[in-house]
Amino acid sequence: MSDEVKVEVEDLVPFYVSKSEPLLNSLEEHDIRIEYQCRSGYCGACRVTLLEGRVDYDEPPLAFIKENEILTCCCKAITDLKIMRPL
């Protein structure tokens, strides 16, 4: 199970996702609704707050993100994650 990491979204039941999939795809598979638009890192619609853990990007995304934010459409998890959706 080395390819999988644990993801906690707010107070929902934690689940496991693949490190090689974009996080947004995995979240959608688990019925976590995230706003999205371009799905390629330039619009910023899918940003969420990263409370714990680290992610990586294949290429640096164009959209503006604050230090504690990640773009789910194009990031991949490196470690276990704790995230919070906006609103």
Binding site: Q37, Y42, C43, G44, L62, F64, L87
Partner: protein, 376 residues
Amino acid sequence: MQYTIFNRKPVNSLKEPMFFGETVNVARYDQQKYPIFESLIEKQLSFFWRPEEVDLSKDRKDFQDLAEHEQHIFLSNLKYQTLLDSIQGRSPNIALLPVCSLPELETWIETWAFSETIHSRSYTHIIRNIKSDPSDVFDDIVRNEEILKRADSVSKYYDAFIEYMNLYTMFGLGTHEINGKPIDVTLFELKKRLYLCLVSVNVLEAIRFYVSFACSFAFAERALMEGNAKVIKLIARDEALHLTGTQHMLNIMASGQDDEEMARVAEECKQEAEEIFIEAAEQEKQWAEYLFKDGSMIGLNKDILCQYVEYITNIRMQAVGLNSPFDVKSNPLPWMNAWLVSDNVQVAPQESEISSYLVGQVDSEVSADDFDDFDL
């Protein structure tokens, strides 16, 4: 300062702020203070498209078959978008270039404005296709009360900044007597007007376009006006990028990393910025009411559209560090996102049904029996 088109002073643009530093002299991109603007330019160039690529022949028939109140919805949105892109095709250049201090930012502004002119051209392409006399539509833009109300709030922050910026580029800072009246030109006021202008541009790109986008995609969900929806998809893709550009500028300003005084301006203008967003959201809701005054369309009505406006206003405000004012927690039009995904915007002509590209194509498939009826 007196404006010069080519600043003769040797300038290290890596040490200049985004705006109100030394004006740009050499357009060089080998070194950048903010590489993000260079990346935005690259992305925008890769998005290049031409309205004529999109085949609208079926739309003409679709439009004629629409009920009258649906034609009203379609045309009104087109008029509103024409207004917005008329403004955006020229104003970033006029307002921002004279006070811009970074070559990569200067070129981003020009690239951004240029892509808006493609949008304007695409409206002509669409209107020409559905109306025998396009003037009916275009002329109404400066007569229609509802559109004019919006023109006013979209352009007022630009005008306020441009007026003041002209005094600055002509006379420099200080008190000047103009038409017999003393006028104070201060850097703080300039920055304030610029910041509010950018907020209002952000609102334009982030919220004002989306009511119209929603209607276009709602038609296309019913397999109507699909050529138009294809054009709108391309426009929405560009607008999402422009929105990111403006969010970067606003956030760099607010962070103070670029110019400390700008951060104070952003802090001081916070409430006014929030009001600009909220006012625009209210106007868009009124616009939804105007669109549906004679009847709704399948899949969309005034209430859902208003909730959608509130929802995206919340998201956009959060993105630039403002408080989200509305109590909508989820997207009332989830199917919109599927239309806004850029993955399935087809860009390679050989892979898409772009008719202008396919016309005149040679059928290159040859089978063994193709020469059977040849006699030598």
